[in-house]
């Protein structure tokens, strides 16, 4: 009770301050013309997924407000924007895998590809199929819906942001880098392109859309690359990976085929030149969200 009353006490003398704040905001609102004009158009397309990826994006809290304020016009979203049909976009974030028996889903994905410059598959359902790979049909109320495939089986995907769910930080980084790629200065375009390159490579990879713990085995351990850092065990969202005598041991019955272990592995992909600039890149991200 005391705490609540303290809060009220604190608020009382602040009243004139909030008034000033409102006035100031109104003034600065007049000058807001320029940044708004440079916004990119982005949206969220929802296929067979759990909305966890969208929730993860929202989990950036004030970060997502800053992004929507300055950099992105959120033009299409089942849950957040009042739009019926998929409009023209710069960046489409597509979540969930596609059900082959669901005509509307297939059409929607094709339409999204047609209408957007960059297609980002967010979350493992869209990238690798994830848990939907285990679907055998029979669920109410569409028992015939049984074949679920990742996006890249049907359309060209430009960028992968895997994991289940993808982290708020990674989604934020991907959206900001996509913005810098489209609207930044020449240096920023270069940097954003280099940052997104590995995620674009994942999207073009012959094996990653079929990823599971086996991918980590085949492409890292079997290739003699594993050095036992344990990134995979930290990454696994279902804790299927433990480190036994310094090497990853996967409980393959637990594996949901998300591919996070391979994507997080420093021997999965690693760019020395880019990572050396980690300080300035992280400062840049903090800067644009300030």
């Amino acid at each position: 009770m005391q705490r609540i009353s303290n809060i009220f006490k604190k608020q009382e003398p602040e009243k004139p301050v909030t008034k000033k704040f409102v006035e100031k905001k109104a003034e600065s609102g007049m000058k807001e013309g320029k940044p708004v004009a440079e916004k990119i158009r982005a949206g969220h397309v929802h296929e067979s997924g759990c909305t966890g990826c969208l929730v993860a994006l929202a989990d950036n809290y004030e970060g997502i407000l800053k992004i929507l304020d300055r950099y992105v016009d959120w033009v299409y979203d089942l849950t957040l924007a009042d739009t019926r049909h998929i409009p023209k976009m710069d960046v489409a974030l597509i979540e969930g895998s596609v059900c082959l028996q669901d005509k509307i889903a297939v059409e929607e994905v094709k339409k999204a590809r047609e209408n957007s410059a960059i297609v980002v598959a967010i979350g493992s359902c869209a990238c690798t199929g994830n848990i939907n790979r285990f679907d055998r049909g029979g669920q109410a109320n569409q028992p015939q819906h049984e074949s679920f495939v990742p996006l890249s089986d049907l359309i060209d995907v430009d960028v992968f942001v895997p994991c289940c769910p993808p982290t708020p930080e990674q989604l934020r980084n991907a959206v900001l880098m996509a913005y810098l790629l489209l609207k930044g200065t020449d240096d920023q375009k270069k940097l954003a392109g280099r940052y997104l390159q590995p995620l674009m490579n994942l999207a073009k990879s012959p094996f990653f859309s079929k990823a599971s713990f086996n991918t980590l085995m085949q492409e890292v351990i079997n290739q003699g690359l594993c050095m036992g850092c344990g990134s995979c065990a930290a990454a696994c969202p279902v804790r299927a990976i433990t480190m036994e005598y310094g090497k990853p041991q996967g409980e393959r019955d637990l594996c949901i085929n998300c591919g996070a272990c391979f994507a997080q592995c420093p021997r999965g992909f690693f760019d020395h030149g880019l990572t050396e600039q980690y300080e300035s890149i992280m400062e840049l991200i903090q800067e644009v969200l300030k």
């Binding site: 942001v161 895997p162 994991c163 993808p166 982290t167 708020p168 930080e169 990674q170 980084n173 940052y195 590995p198 995620l199 490579n201 994942l202 073009k204 990879s205 094996f207 990653f208 492409e219 890292v220 290739q223 003699g224 690359l225 594993c226 050095m227 036992g228 850092c229 344990g230 990134s231 065990a233 930290a234 990454a235 696994c236 969202p237 480190m243 005598y245 310094g246 090497k247 996070a260 272990c261 994507a263 997080q264 420093p266 021997r267 999965g268 992909f269 690693f270 760019d271 020395h272 880019l274 990572t275 050396e276 980690y278 300080e279 890149i281 992280m282």
Partner: protein, 297 residues
């Protein structure tokens, strides 16, 4: 270039007698973590501690390293010394920030593990809450690492000592040396140990932990001292504060023997050798090669 970007490099030793007693060399990592814990720079640290698991092949694995989240000076002191076997330091980082609830974590690791931490910051694909919580990243020089079973093989089969009687392991002056509790020493030339190395080390292009905030190692400094590279802004700030607090005594690098040249020589050696390995992997089979993680997928 082989030494990465750094602001300063010095030869240093801890001034803390208690830490120096159990230190591998200059006690740099333990002292920095102890200082950071005291000064509230970090809430806890991930360190390599002796295993607490069941006996393997009839002995306690006191030399098997396991990553552990520690929050006190006592726990830090209990995990001093180098064991030269694989310790997956990145594994507990998500638990440290999400289960243990540490807002600022100190981490230590060999170069490849620091690469893992930095990748987790830049591409936090599955590392929720991790990127902004690594408050102090310490790196250790590393030529190669052995699987635990290789260490047992070397100590028990080649050197003829029981692994749980070993008090200290050292790699230096071209030899792998162990000291036992009863004061015996035994050593084997490093070239005979190469075949037991972990294969993943042979594609590593980093010797002095280029991506750490502060990296240290014995190479280049006299016995009982460590060579310390201060690399990032954050690292410089913490190092300067620790120096002001009198945590370390230092000597300039050009006044100690064998000096920076040997560090540069070993780094060049490792990187050239491993670049060659990477090249030979590209043409490993007949018209087919092995994957190179640094190029593309």
């Amino acid at each position: 270039m082989v030494l990465g970007n750094y602001k300063t490099v010095v030869s240093a030793r801890s001034t803390d007698k208690e830490i120096l007693k159990g230190a591998q060399d200059g006690g740099i990592v333990t002292t920095l973590f102890a200082y950071a814990l005291d000064e509230d720079i970090i809430d806890g640290a991930i360190v390599a501690a002796p295993s607490r698991s069941k006996p393997w092949r009839g002995h306690w694995d006191i030399w098997r390293a396991e990553p552990r989240v520690v929050t006190t000076r006592q726990e830090l002191l209990a995990s001093q010394k180098t064991g030269y076997n694989i310790c997956p330091m990145v594994t507990p980082v998500k638990d440290a920030v999400r289960m243990h609830g540490l807002d600022r974590v100190g981490v230590v690791g060999v170069p490849c593990q620091i690469q893992g931490f930095r990748k987790a910051q830049l591409y936090p694909i599955a590392m929720r809450d991790v990127p902004d919580k690594l408050a102090l990243v310490l790196g250790i020089f590393c030529m190669e690492v052995f699987p635990y079973q290789s260490i047992v093989q070397l100590v028990e089969d080649h050197l003829g000592k029981k692994i749980d009687s070993v008090k200290k392991m050292e790699v230096g002056k071209g030899k792998f040396t162990v000291r036992t509790e009863r004061g015996e020493t035994a050593s084997i030339p490093l070239k005979d140990t190469h075949k037991y190395e972990q294969p993943g080390c042979h594609v590593c292009l980093d010797y002095v932990a280029n991506l750490a905030d502060i990296s240290s190692g014995s190479v280049g400094s006299p016995d009982g001292w460590s060579t310390v590279f201060v690399r990032s802004k954050k690292g410089e700030q913490i190092w300067n504060e620790a120096m002001t607090a009198g945590m370390f005594e230092t000597k300039p690098m050009d006044q100690v023997k064998p000096g920076l040249d040997i560090v540069k020589k070993l780094a060049t050696e490792k990187i050239t050798k491993n670049r060659k390995t990477l090249d030979s992997r590209a043409t490993f089979g007949v018209g087919k090669g092995l994957r190179n993680p640094y190029l593309n997928l």
